[in-house]
Homo-oligomer: 335 residues x 2
């Protein structure tokens, strides 16, 4: 199995990206990796390592799309960027997956323009795992589509279910609709019509889920429009960071509390790990005719390794083939 990685994307590229690739090569024996990026830079970095080189190669790409540039113009103008080159490798099947910790916007635009959608999928969706009290839940869309129709949400539910069944080995994934009340008649026009459509769709629909109940972890998949999903994802990130910062300030007030906080360090680290969604890998861009995974911009080696494991499960699980089959059924039902 061949997986390509954008070696130039993310805050800690290329060092942590390459380190993560090395960890993955050690751990997973049936993968080969292609690093996409500036050959000289990558060769210099690779020289630090001794092992695994037979399953690691470089695809040169002279340019880099930064997170500061406009996604569309970045993809259109930088034809020899690591991102565009990687996506084109997916298109021509030189790789079975592409992982990038670079610009989310550019990766989404590039995936649509260079790789394209699975036939029948109106809108691909970016999907992210949210940590909960129990197990992680897949939230989609988290930002690919600021505006959605009810049919998009139904397709998100179908794609998310297949993904969770195959990549996270859930059985018959439970799908919830993010809403501002539990009752059927609650919410805006979009969720009200999506609710009705989901009742008859072929997913395991469990009804509306209020934002405060997301963390109960009773669903495997939660669907919403990309505006709402992005707000949820970013709010969790911002609030978790804020809470840690505020706790730290409280704990540092005097010598006794400092000592107590020091004792609690392992407990706090354990907790932080549970809250850390990079533990689950990156965000798959579901509905694209290839396996595209967006790793977090601040990904360290471990996050990259997890994203590689995730790509592996995605391919082994035939996620896209199953989505293709299911979308044909959905289309048939409509007629």
């Amino acid at each position: 199995m061949i997986i390509a990685i954008d070696a130039m994307g993310g805050d800690h590229a290329p060092q942590e990206i390459i380190k993560g690739c090395m960890l993955a090569l050690d751990e997973y024996q049936d993968i080969s990796l292609i690093l996409v990026g500036q050959q000289d830079v990558l060769e210099k970095e690779l020289a630090k390592y001794k092992s695994c080189k037979n399953r690691m190669s470089i695809q040169n790409a002279s340019d880099v799309i930064t997170t500061h540039e406009a996604p569309v113009s970045g993809i259109r103008s930088k034809k020899d960027s690591s991102m565009v080159v990687g996506l084109e490798m997916v298109k021509v099947k030189k790789t079975q997956a592409f992982i990038s910790a670079g610009s989310t916007g550019a990766l989404m635009v590039g995936s649509l323009l260079k790789v394209g959608r699975i036939k029948g999928i109106d809108r691909p969706a970016l999907a992210s795992i949210i940590p909960t009290k129990k197990q992680g839940v897949l939230l989609l869309d988290v930002g690919a589509n600021a505006e959605c129709k009810s049919i998009n949400l139904v397709q998100f539910a179908m794609m998310g279910s297949i993904y969770m069944n195959k990549v996270f080995e859930r059985s018959n994934s439970k799908v919830g609709l993010v809403n501002i009340g539990e009752e059927e008649e609650k919410g805006n026009e979009l969720v009200k019509s999506a609710y009705q459509a989901m009742k008859t769709a072929s997913c395991n629909f469990i009804g509306n889920v209020e934002a405060r109940d997301i963390f109960e972890g009773n669903a495997d998949v939660l669907v919403c429009d990309g505006f709402t999903g992005n707000i949820i994802l970013k709010l969790i990130e911002g609030l978790a960071d804020t809470i840690f910062l505020m706790l730290k300030i409280e704990f540092m007030r005097n010598i006794l509390s400092k000592l107590a906080a020091w004792i609690l360090k392992p407990a706090l680290r354990n907790f932080k790990k549970k809250m850390d969604y990079t533990e689950y890998g990156g965000a798959p861009f579901l509905g694209i005719d290839g396996c595209i995974i967006k790793a977090h911009g601040s990904s360290n080696a471990n996050a990259i390794k997890n994203a590689i494991r995730q790509a592996q499960n995605f391919i082994k699980g035939n996620v896209n083939e199953l989505i293709s089959k299911e979308i044909i059924k959905l289309e048939d039902n409509k007629q």
Copy 2:
């Protein structure tokens, strides 16, 4: 100044409601309170107290609207409920404000049906304070309008600014638009058109604010549609609860960590207090032709006292008179 309180609404009614009223009467000398609810129940409860009775009276209301019943039918059928009686007292100016910890839906419907809107306000909005790293920020709408137009958001900005200037003594409140990116062109149709409208509106507009940056506390007022606002409010509640629960589990793992957690108790309590939005009072229903405040369902005496202080500042600050004046200016500008 006369303030009426729904003595039957909320999880801890009437005990904590009455206790909160007593605290307020002790602390604020120029208010009189009217408890609205079942006379016999309230008299029995009041008998426990000795002081303040000369500034406290009871308005009998035989019925109670529960949080389980549908808001519209509750308001329509229970004409002698504490909520309907209280709202009608606002209408006929028997009280200057009404506070309830009862059903949010019923209070919103009841305020619209029994009290009515300020002339020129298309959609009243429920507004709630969100704790941040710095000072609290007012978020609106948090659930009154699942569907909004750009003009509604402009009116929310105006009402929120006046409220924060007068009740929280901010000067020239900074208004942010909740969005999924900082750039002008980001977001769904609603926020894109609202952005343009806000640029020329007479509020101190600081642009888009991403969900992750809400907690930086750089704005005084944040506007969004009621669907998004409700998701944000409930998510914060759910996540904060989840984090506390998960931390507790980690801290209880062994005897040493238990001891350390015990030492940190004051720090944790301090932090919890900072995160507790009932410290700021309740959620005002802005745009209603009267001062209506929704206290949290789980309000304790302190939360009720804070809501009473808030009603006091609302009236002293002439919030509704200022909103009326400003809406005429907005209307004039349109023509």
